[in-house]
Symmetry: C2
Subunit: 158 residues, 2 copies
């Protein structure tokens, strides 16, 4: 029962300066400020636009999207510039059993059904599945971040 | 093209003390510590368990799941104890165009394909779609959180 297929339909699409995967910094998850300055737009399709009411009051949004260019599933992945293979659930790789992506963006403004955001790291034309407000409860402190941590330390030394 | 259906399959399921929706604190998103102490387990189905390698190094995980009990879609929702209707994308309501849920949990331990976590706010038997590491980049500061903010202020006054 619990294993049956679940179907979603895009509620919108991304407009991004990144037209190809190679355009996106592969180390963005290691850097706290990632691609903070990269701007783009989230277009919510008209039938869903009424759901954007009240969203303007939030500084940050969680964007859940489909990795629409991902065509393979790997349980072990070699992150960019890493030598060891990591379990896919300890990475943000697109090659996941369910190719769902997640990015937290800063909301800069809104024009009807278009949200202007920064922190863009999605490909142009990415299908958007959901948008959620980022709440105080989502902001965690005193993190341990495993292999990414070793990576950051190594970076600092160099 | 971008609007075509996207299909996912659960990679696991939740074991939670919450058997019914009424068991879950409806104000959890307003409170920074939400349900921080509630413990539960994330069972990753055996075929995907290899993807859990290296996950033990992370203190927090992002769980993406299906709101499997949600049967209606609303673009405007009345959050618990709110008088006004809010746009669904500015809430964490389960009644979304795509009933996808997201919770950030603390990882307490792991026993093979079972992750022990706290911060549980999911229903028992919830289908898990994805697990991602929570990285420094996901921890945002200086938040504005719109109507939830008015709510917190009101709470403090009382």
């Amino acid at each position: 029962m619990v294993r049956k297929e679940i179907r979603f339909r895009p509620i919108g699409r991304v407009h991004s300066p990144f037209k190809a995967r190679e355009d996106i910094d592969p180390l963005r998850n290691v850097r706290p400020n990632g691609l903070a300055k990269v701007e783009g737009e989230l277009e919510i399709f008209k039938p869903y636009a009424a759901g954007l009411k009240d969203i303007d009051g939030f500084s940050h949004l969680i964007v859940i999207f489909a990795f629409h260019r991902s065509q393979k599933v790997k349980l072990l992945v070699k992150p960019p510039r890493e030598t060891r293979r990591r379990g896919v659930f300890s990475t943000r790789s697109p090659h996941r059993p369910n190719p769902i992506g997640l990015t937290i963006v800063r909301l800069l403004g809104r024009r009807k059904n278009i949200l202007q955001v920064s922190g863009m790291d999605m490909l142009d034309e990415t299908p958007i599945l959901d948008i959620k407000p980022y709440t105080p409860r989502d902001s965690k402190r005193r993190l341990k971040h495993g292999w990414l941590e070793e990576r950051s330390k190594k970076k600092k030394k160099n």
